[in-house]
Symmetry: C2
Subunit: 210 residues, 2 copies
């Protein structure tokens, strides 16, 4: 079979051996007599799939049990709203880095929910870039600092992440697991699965429990 490698925006290539395992199990999942699509989400077979995926991802990210991993819907874009809805309370400020299209989209949604301060704005810079860590204007006591690890449209990637007291939140949709990094330094990492992790339709959130 001649494989086509899709490098377009949106869903990306999956390993053939993963597709073949999913295919083999699709009608009768490991002798259960059911497709995974027919199972109770509370059943032991599905629970085992969920636990294994969670454990594998934590291993790859080097995260311990102070973190939870969630598999959600709505894409990374829904997280643009869910994060401020959950963590940007009345009277609080969240710091956001605007480094391009995705950072700007996150800021637009957060402003519908609460008060946003721009820690740095490189959206229109030519050549495209992310700010240096020393450029960031941080709000004392900010609810969190949000950044986009890799801006795919303009093309700019953080090489070194900020170290600060503010809880760090990052959209890592396009480069998660593409390089080693200290995931434990973040309070919340989110990523649409379709670029680097799995099929489209799932968004991964790794969140520090405290």
């Amino acid at each position: 079979m001649a494989r086509i490698y899709n490098f377009n925006a949106g869903p990306a290539v999956l390993p053939v051996e993963v597709l073949e395992e999913a295919q083999a199990d699709l009608v009768d999942y490991k002798g259960s007599g059911m497709s995974v699509m027919e199972m109770s989400h509370r059943g032991k077979e599905y629970e085992a799939i969920h636990e294994e995926a969670t454990a594998n991802l934590k291993t790859l990210l080097g995260l311990d049990d102070t973190f939870s991993v969630l598999f959600l819907q709505g894409g990374a874009s829904l997280q643009f709203a869910m994060i401020p809805m959950n963590f940007l309370g009345a009277g609080q400020v969240a710091d956001y880095v605007n480094s391009g299209n995705w950072g700007a989209s996150a800021i637009k949604q957060a402003r519908l929910i609460g008060t946003v301060a721009i820690a740095a704005d490189c959206e229109k810079d030519v050549p495209t870039r992310v700010p240096g860590v020393e450029e960031l204007k941080l709000t004392p006591g900010a609810a969190y600092l949000h950044l986009t690890s890799n801006e795919t449209i303009s093309g700019a990637q953080w090489k070194r992440f900020p170290v600060c007291d503010t809880p760090l939140v990052a959209d890592m949709s396009s480069d998660i697991l593409s390089r080693p990094f200290d995931a434990g330094a973040f309070s919340l990492i989110y990523a649409g699965a379709q670029k680097n992790l799995g099929p489209s339709g799932v968004t991964v959130v790794a969140i520090r429990m405290d």
Copy 2:
């Protein structure tokens, strides 16, 4: 192969021939060299799948081109919020029928967004029931009237739907396509796919364009 038929809450049985077709195409979709999970959501192969599914559902529901069909995420439960967010504006009232657990859940979300009037309340009635059409207290000029076609937990199903000037909105997750009905009399029908339409992970919204 001994098939297990899952009748629990949550995902339900799918036709084996549908699963087998999905399985056959999973690694190499109709000779495209890609899995459907690897394709661009803007590509012609995926667009054709989308158009066929939309057209098939419109045919089954007897809907014409005054309706659009959307395939969304977040379950029918996210529609509990999305519907008032989109259609319950400031200064407006939405009428809701509380006929059980699902109706009450829809009301709870709508009250976070805007003003809700209870057109009928049978939630605690024993034996469980839905209200008669003549019992409904409708608000003149209401943004919409929301009902749950079948309350699965308590067990109560509408046999005859209201006919009124208020735009009708229905959660039909558990009985859509299980019986003929006049879908064109509704302004918005939504249903989690996992009971009667397809695998979990997709929510169908059929909406009148005006």
